[in-house]
């Protein structure tokens, strides 16, 4: 309801003068409230002249509360005026319009190029008021009862009291909220970012004393624009438009989202019942092109989306009924179907897929029928068809499927046959085996098998009999002549090509002469190979039993081409630890088989199930003998029995010798393994053991599958045998050494005898016996003092220089007393090992005393003289001594001549021996005479002087 506050009259003015301008002030201003939209509806009119039709104008609209200073809207509204048109504009207010009064005033201005001089604002219209409820004297909340808002938006409420300054409280979902006082009776409350709480809405209410007035705020999700909006037809009669409406707005059921379709060409509109699809009736002959707009709207928002299309290009064909299958025979069948829309201007492309049990084949056609050919006889087929518009693909129709079975045909191919021939009395028992034809060759249900046996002997005879359809073998006893056996499969359409095999008794006898070879198995099967046979061999056949231990052994065979000489025989029935026996035949071009080879083997060998019992014999310190007993045999259910493994495990680790093989077990125990390859050998000598050591021996029978259980024994070897060692090594060595010593001794004696004969003992001289002395024998010996010595001519020699280093000590005495000349080598060893050599002759000293060189030597004027010389010098002297005169080099003057070698014995002069001078223990009683060179001339020291030797005292103290 609106009120014009000040009635005024507005005129269009035409000012005379140089220029004219147009002014059309707004008239009949009416203001009202549209509560559901919270919209202030402003309507006004303009009184126009005829010549000002379609005049462009601007209207300025001011909206304010209470006073002009509180303007809440200033809008320029532009429009082109039409005659008698009521202008209208709706102002949406955030604050509920009932909360307070709103004033509206409008002014206008011509904004037309035709009248540029008229761009002058008219005067403001008198304000028109939209009265609020603040002075109603009633307690209210606005908006009242129901309102709607989108999620996360802000909502403004106001509470109006009955009288001024009443205390009003506001609650939103029981949450007290502070308000803003708009007037003495009106308070505004703003709830920001409202959220969905429940489908039944959120309660907002004002409380004044005990009175409550409220509003339910329904918060919904934002209405989304429909997506994937598209239309299609299945029959060109009905158009089906679909879209995705987006997420649920969660508005209550009585406030649904409404969807409608509007078509622009036909200007028709349809309200959609469903929220995601809508149907539209087509007029196929009237209209091909459509321009649809989908409108979605609810209390809060409107959305729209459009699509433009030719309906003939958006056709998804549809089958009418099922496809039919006609004229089905063994290899062909004809398909027919009906599809809509069936307008003549439409062409279709149809896709056909045919499946049998194994494969699928695809065909394409533009017709509504299709003949399938090349089908497998007596086979279930599945066929399905789908079509689309060929001129413009839109969508495939749904698949239309059907099943059918082709009729039977004559079996193709030939049976795979084989035989077993066993001699019986008077002939052979022949077992004929065949494998059922696979489905693709049987071409129908096999009714039976025909077996024809024709003799190849002189008297031809044919015996034909039949076997059931579910059989795969037959048995017949034949005589010794060869037979040709033909087997064929028969179904309702006919018979297969007969398979032929010739059974010749003579050939079978050769089986005994062929040795059976062992073959190795693999995970996949058992590998066989054979030598290629003659050129007449058409193929090879390997036969075996899947269950060789069973009476019904499940006889199997496999054929190979003539160019194949090896194969891996596979079978699901093969098991580990089962020995399979294979026979390999050549099949001649005359269909006559002949045995080529026999093989035996395992897919995987197993260890034997036995345990040797071990004993020990001949236990010695380094060897022993192991004996064992067992029940291990070469039985087919485990593996090929290859011998025994003997494991030696010493308590103290020791290396394996060359005869053994080192084995390291999983627990890092190292053992030495002997291999006994002879399965019949039950004893084994173990050598090279360590004495006094403990060994564990394990004896295991082994196959390719591993070792059997072990027979274990623990043995400790004996101690070391010294006697034997002595007997064998040391004693012979000792005897040999003894003999060698004896021999050497004899040799030394012999050499001594020959080279250094003993000086005859004067006491034992035969002269003594001739003199026939009576009494003491010593009395018979002459005393040197009694002898008159011969003169000795001593010639000084320059060779004295050769005796440098030789210490010569001449011990002189009074002439009347015998003096001893000691020639001793310098050095301990020499003293130790050399016997003393003594000269007892004064003549040496006399000659030497004349020599000046004598002073260089030590002359000991007592009998306690000792001379120390090097052994080298001694030897030289000795050598010189034994040198014969005749060997004197020419030019050298012989200065020394032997006079007499008789010397008085020392034994009679014991009283002269000094305690400081060691007496030679083994001094010969004969003193060897020796030449004293001139350089070593004796000199006699002054009387009273002690004899001095350059040798050390130790040397001197050393006994001879």
């Amino acid at each position: 309801m609106s009120h014009v506050l000040t009635p005024r009259i507005h005129l269009s003015l035409s000012i005379a003068g140089s220029s004219e301008y147009l002014v059309y002030p707004p008239e009949s201003i009416n203001v009202s409230i549209r509560s559901d939209e919270q919209c202030l509806d402003i309507q006004w009119t303009v009184h126009l002249h005829n010549y000002t039709l379609n005049l462009k104008m601007i209207f300025q609209i001011d909206i304010y509360r209470s006073t002009l200073s509180n303007t809440v809207e200033n809008k320029n509204y532009t429009t082109t005026l039409k005659s008698n048109e009521t202008l209208q504009w709706c102002w949406h207010s955030v604050l509920p319009l009932e909360c307070t009064s709103h004033f509206v005033r409008i002014r206008s201005m011509v904004d037309d190029e035709r009248f540029p001089e008229s761009r002058i604002w008219s005067s403001w219209s008198p304000p028109v008021v939209s009265k609020g409820q603040e002075s109603s004297g009633e307690f209210h909340i606005f908006p009242n009862d129901i309102m709607y808002a989108e999620e996360d938006s802000s909502v403004t409420f106001c509470c109006i009291s009955r009288t001024d300054n009443d205390k009003i409280e506001f609650f939103y979902e029981d949450r007290y909220m502070q308000g803003i006082k708009l007037s003495s009776r009106t308070t505004m409350f703003e709830v920001k970012n409202v959220a969905f709480v429940r489908r039944q809405g959120s309660n907002a209410y004002c409380k004044l004393d005990s009175s409550i007035d409220g509003v339910v705020l329904y918060v919904g999700g934002v209405l989304e624009e429909p997506k994937d909006f598209s239309c299609q037809t299945r029959d060109l009669e009905t158009l089906n438009c679909t879209w995705h409406p987006g997420r649920d707005t969660l508005l209550p059921e009585h406030l649904p989202n409404n969807y409608s379709l509007f078509e622009w060409f036909s200007q028709k509109k349809v309200n959609c019942v469903h929220r995601n699809w809508c149907a539209w009736q087509l007029a196929p002959d009237m209209q091909d092109t459509y321009n649809f707009t989908l409108m979605a709207e609810n209390k809060l928002r409107k959305r729209r989306t459009s699509t433009f299309f030719n309906v003939n290009q958006q056709v998804q064909p549809k089958f009418v009924g099922e496809i039919s299958i006609e004229n089905v025979d063994a290899t062909e069948a004809t398909l027919r179907w009906q599809i809509i829309p069936n307008q003549k201007n439409l062409t279709f492309l149809c896709q056909i897929e045919v499946y049998d049990n194994e494969k699928g084949i695809e065909y394409n056609t533009s017709n509504s029928e299709f003949t399938l050919s090349g089908l497998q006889p007596y086979t279930a087929h599945s066929v399905r068809v789908r079509c689309c518009i060929a001129s413009h693909f839109w969508k495939w129709s749904e698949w239309n499927s059907k099943n059918f079975t082709t009729k039977e045909d004559t079996p193709s191919g030939a049976l795979n046959i084989w035989r077993i021939v066993e001699p019986v009395s008077g002939g052979y028992n022949v077992k004929i085996f065949w494998k059922p034809l696979p489905t693709f060759q049987a071409n129908g249900k096999i009714l039976n098998y025909s077996i024809a046996m024709e003799t190849l002997g002189k008297v031809p005879k044919v015996d034909i009999f039949f076997s059931d359809s579910d059989s795969n073998s037959t048995e017949k006893i034949i005589d010794e002549q060869p037979y040709q056996i033909s087997v064929a499969a028969i179904n309702s359409a006919g018979s297969s090509i007969p398979s032929v095999i010739v059974v010749s008794g003579n050939t079978e006898k050769s089986i005994q002469n062929i040795k059976e070879d062992r073959v190795n198995g693999t995970r996949d099967g058992i590998y066989l190979s054979w030598k290629p046979d003659s050129e007449e061999t058409e193929s090879y056949v390997v036969d075996w039993c899947n269950y060789p231990w069973d009476a019904i052994c499940d006889f199997q065979w496999q054929k190979f081409g003539s160019n194949i000489t090896s194969a891996i025989i596979r079978s699901a029935a093969f098991q580990s630890g089962v020995r399979y026996n294979f026979k390999i035949y050549g099949l001649s071009t005359k269909h006559e088989p002949y045995l080529l080879a026999k093989k035996t083997g395992y897919t995987q060998e197993l260890a034997l199930d036995c345990k040797p019992e071990v004993t020990v014999d001949n236990l010695a310190s380094t060897s022993l003998t192991l004996n064992w007993k067992d029940n291990c045999t070469d039985e087919p259910q485990y593996g090929f029995f290859k011998g025994y493994h003997i494991y030696k495990k010493p308590e103290v680790e020791e290396p394996c010798d060359s005869e053994t093989e080192k084995q390291v077990f999983s627990d890092n125990i190292v053992v030495c393994m002997y291999t006994v390859s002879d399965t019949k050998q039950k004893t084994f000598n173990v050598k090279k053991l360590q004495p006094n050591s403990t060994y564990s021996f394990e004896v295991k029978a082994f196959t390719g599958g591993g070792d059997s259980l072990a027979g274990i024994i623990k043995v400790t070897t004996g101690t070391h045998e010294n006697t034997n060692l002595m007997m064998t090594i040391i004693l012979p060595m000792a005897l040999f050494s003894l003999l060698l010593i004896i021999g050497l001794n004899l040799k030394i004696q012999w050499v001594k005898e020959k080279c250094f004969p003993d000086i005859p003992d004067p006491y034992k001289s035969s002269v003594l016996s001739l003199m026939k002395f009576k009494g003491n024998i010593h009395q018979a010996i002459l005393n040197t003092s009694d002898c008159i010595p011969d003169a000795i001519e001593v010639v000084n020699k320059p060779e004295i220089s050769k005796t440098q280093g030789l210490r010569t000590i001449l011990v002189g005495n009074e002439i009347t007393t015998p003096a001893y000349l000691y020639l001793l080598p310098v050095g301990k060893d020499a003293l130790d090992s050399q016997a003393c050599i003594c000269f007892e002759n004064f003549t040496y000293c006399q000659a030497a005393s004349d020599s000046g060189s004598c002073s260089q030597n030590q002359m000991i004027p007592t009998d306690q003289m000792m001379s120390v010389e090097s052994s080298e010098h001694l030897l030289k002297v000795d050598k010189d001594y034994i040198r014969p005169f005749g060997n004197t080099p020419a030019g050298e003057e012989v200065s020394l001549n032997y006079v007499s070698q008789l010397a008085p014995t020392m034994s009679g002069d014991k009283g002269n021996s000094s305690p400081n001078l060691p007496e030679p223990a083994h001094c010969s009683e004969y003193k060897m005479q020796m030449v004293i060179p001139a350089g070593l001339a004796l000199s006699f020291p002054p009387e009273g002087d002690r004899p001095i030797s350059v040798a050390s005292l130790d040397q001197l103290e050393k006994p001879c």
Partner: protein, 206 residues
């Protein structure tokens, strides 16, 4: 006897689950079962669920729901003769049905129909006359109801349900005084006229 009780209980349980015992055209349960069912049905609380659903279970709005009731209270009902009592229950229930004839109250509506049917069966047990059930009353012209889902609608429906709840509480209390067989009652019967006159006197005196 025990087996019969068990069967009756089973039937009662079935009815209770279905909330509906068709009166016309089918056999009514035995009186004792009906009585038991009615007592149980009178205890059903619809107010709490409604207030929770509508977000009215706040202290301020709770008070607003609570108001005076237009339906007879315990003091009024307890002095009514059984037939009159049952007819009053039937009429009141039908009035509430009429007021709550909105999709939101669909389940409650079915429940109320079940109560009405059971009351009808009880009346058949009490009255020798063949058609004891009150004829469906012509729909009253109700005062204009506020917009469904509005705040005033919520409060008004809350008040109606609350009144119903009070009324059924009173009905339950009266039924507790009823004996195991039809016609048995612990207290002296009074006519509805006497009851109403007594109420008027009380009001005037008050």
């Amino acid at each position: 006897m025990w087996a019969r009780l068990r069967l009756s209980s089973l039937f009662g349980l079935t009815c209770g689950l279905l909330w509906l015992c068709p009166a016309a055209g089918s056999t009514c349960p035995v009186y004792q079962t009906l009585l038991c069912q009615l007592k149980n049905m009178a205890k059903k609380d619809f107010l709490k669920a409604f207030m929770t659903d509508q977000g009215l279970n706040s202290p301020h709005l709770n008070e607003t729901c609570t108001g005076s009731s237009d339906f007879p209270v315990t003091e009024t009902l307890k002095d009514l003769p059984p037939v009159t009592f049952l007819q009053t229950v039937s009429q009141t229930v039908r009035l509430i049905e009429q007021k709550l004839n909105e999709p939101v109250f669909k389940r409650m509506h079915i429940y109320l129909q079940g109560i009405d049917n059971n009351v009808c069966c009880m009346l058949q047990a009490l009255l020798p006359a063949p058609a004891a059930c009150p004829a469906p009353a012509s729909r009253r012209t109700l005062s204009p109801t506020p917009t469904v889902g509005s705040f005033s609608w919520k409060l008004e429906r809350c008040k109606i349900i609350q009144s119903y709840q009070r009324f059924m509480e009173a009905v339950g209390k009266v039924l507790e005084t009823w004996g195991a067989s039809p016609g048995q009652r612990n207290r002296k019967r009074r006519s509805l006229l006497n009851v109403l006159l007594g109420q008027r006197r009380k009001v005037r005196a008050g």
